[in-house]
Symmetry: C3
Subunit: 311 residues, 3 copies
Amino acid sequence: MTSNFEGVDLVTIRDFSRDQIEHVMNLAEKMIPIALGEERSDLLSSHLLGSLFFEPSTRTRLSFASAMARLGGITLGFDQPLGASIQKGETLADTIKMVDAYTDVIVLRHSAEGSARLAAHFAEKPIINAGDGAGQHPTQTILDLFTIRKAKGKIGDINVALVGDLKYGRTVHSLAEALALFGAKLMFVAPKTLQMPKETVRAVEKLGAKPAMLTTIEESLAEADIMYVTRIQKERFPDLAEYQKVSGEFKINNALLKDAKPELKIMHPLPRVDEIQAEVDSTDHALYFQQAFNGVPVRMAILSLILGAKS
Amino acid sequence: MTSNFEGVDLVTIRDFSRDQIEHVMNLAEKMIPIALGEERSDLLSSHLLGSLFFEPSTRTRLSFASAMARLGGITLGFDQPLGASIQKGETLADTIKMVDAYTDVIVLRHSAEGSARLAAHFAEKPIINAGDGAGQHPTQTILDLFTIRKAKGKIGDINVALVGDLKYGRTVHSLAEALALFGAKLMFVAPKTLQMPKETVRAVEKLGAKPAMLTTIEESLAEADIMYVTRIQKERFPDLAEYQKVSGEFKINNALLKDAKPELKIMHPLPRVDEIQAEVDSTDHALYFQQAFNGVPVRMAILSLILGAKS
Amino acid sequence: MTSNFEGVDLVTIRDFSRDQIEHVMNLAEKMIPIALGEERSDLLSSHLLGSLFFEPSTRTRLSFASAMARLGGITLGFDQPLGASIQKGETLADTIKMVDAYTDVIVLRHSAEGSARLAAHFAEKPIINAGDGAGQHPTQTILDLFTIRKAKGKIGDINVALVGDLKYGRTVHSLAEALALFGAKLMFVAPKTLQMPKETVRAVEKLGAKPAMLTTIEESLAEADIMYVTRIQKERFPDLAEYQKVSGEFKINNALLKDAKPELKIMHPLPRVDEIQAEVDSTDHALYFQQAFNGVPVRMAILSLILGAKS
């Protein structure tokens, strides 16, 4: 039975089947009027979310808090690791057991890969991974899928170009796999040194995808229905000149987009710096602010399902 | 129609007419029993305030949070710019658009003058300016007017001495204009180098006021009904000796107040350091703690009106 | 009448009589299903807690926030002294008067001994001391008593070993007195330089206790029903070698516990570092996580009583 999410952990996107992801997206769709404040709900009243951000992530943290609040629930926790317990050398396991005793569900952001799995081991309450180092960020993946489905009516058979830092970019690895699971056609567009890791390429091929490996955005423009852009970080390059050349080539602006399909939609997990120029914001291509909003109904759906709340 | 505030931004006090300010004050008056916790309200239940403090301001931040909570609403946000987004170089516009998608109204405190106007440009939801650099802090102005009206029964024809740093003090510029709008008689009491800027003097004269420019508190004592004190900051003076002389002359204590009207009320936006001595707190002159409390009912009124909540 | 707590301050455990502590514990017992999220309550809806943590204490802060939330109340405040007011040199008295105007009850954590008593002097609303320097932390004491009573069915006639740093450990001084008040038998187990201060020894003797003063955990093992462990901090020792010897001897592990009563329960105020080894967590001796949870129902009871909420 796909709809029984009560009490489950969401550590990686692989914890959910395709049917389960569809179920979340269908419920998220229904949550939109509540997320917009047009309808009221107390579905999660008396429910407490422990929000543990060991590293800052304003967007993820506030969208979870908004999702709880829109459903009448309450959020407590911390947004940086300044607590006495952590300063005094408390282990993550002990911190998790504490919050486990004070709340009904825990969202965890931590710099160490594997910390969400460890937390899930020690907590009785469900753990939602909001990013653990180079690891997963599954609610981001689901909101990305939801955004594509909402914009295009489907995910299968859509041409999706993943653009930018595909080697270190956390979100694109799990997104690539999830897109393959849903039958999307993939283009991996990155500087050679920042291409998609082999494990991810193999994983999507196993799911039937045949990703095109491209080195310039221009090559992807004619076919792309969705362009998912991630930031290229200076610290990935030993040579500053090389960084400047590459980052210049991977900037999206209106001139570049003249060769794109009119219905191309551009996504970005945000925050951005300058990899999408502000002039793009007012075009029909810009989908990234809608995408950020979609974090709220998707997280409302996930929280409701995991908490077993009945509407 | 003066009472339609729904969806409007409050960036400067000039955004509101005298009639509108009176309307806010009348509603604030009715909010007092709820602000005191004597009556319950769920007027703003299901409403979300985005509370974005890019620089700390405990009093303003907590009074907005209290105002929301007293009306059943929820506050989320940050109290210092430590979020990943901002660290990563996100623009204010992008941060505002994010919170715009997660909440119903945004209160913004920022060190850069003009940031509230910029935020209002990018946000669909209403923006309340809680201080932007040398710019405005309009909810402070309204709570100051409200405090005078409550203490004296009226604002027009009251003698109000603005005392201290009138050059750099943010609150006194807009307060001076608002007082002139309501017909108060003004005294500007400041060291010569910290007197009221010419633009503000001209603005109040245009509104019919004839401010007295004074250099010592003593000169204002015989007539003042209200003395509004602001702090003189050391960093405004190139010469430490000059600072010590001036700040010593602008300290309020009980000895000084012997020559004041018995019904003189002293106000201060707080926090204070030593410009009002603690011995004054227990006299009938002290109005500043009542003034701080008044921030709650006034902000309750403003939030309710801007959110279009019907009681 | 022992049950009238409305409006009282809780600065030290001596503010409450034995009857009053029993009353709190009885109410805490009834709060457990709500603390677990199994039952809903809006006993404290429309009530505001001002949560002022001038130094961080994640466990205490979050358990108060959870206690308020479980009863429908709202928490606002700060978790570190970064507010503008404090940076600008505002006195504690002025900060307290501000929050007094914005909330219904204040919980205060501060590094300076005596700060809670000072706050109680300036606030009209009740103050709950959540630790002031070397001073008291009375809600911790009550939750410790509650934990013992729940585990053993009674407090009187129980053998309780207080172990570790008894000289500087804040929690053990007031706990020792409270245990004596309830008729527990006491063992003080500490390195000679960190033994219980004479004033506390005298205070418990005055209450009829005859504490055994021991220097090794082994000596207490045969009789102890409860072992309450606190951390020995490196900075207490001028000599590193001495610290290493002592802290090694005061570590609890499963090998040591072979000589303990089977029904021995181990408590710790948490956070711990390594003074209780993780292997103990899965034994029946471990009571410290249950103890941490008990902070929620005990604080629910205290908040309800002090706020005069009727269930």
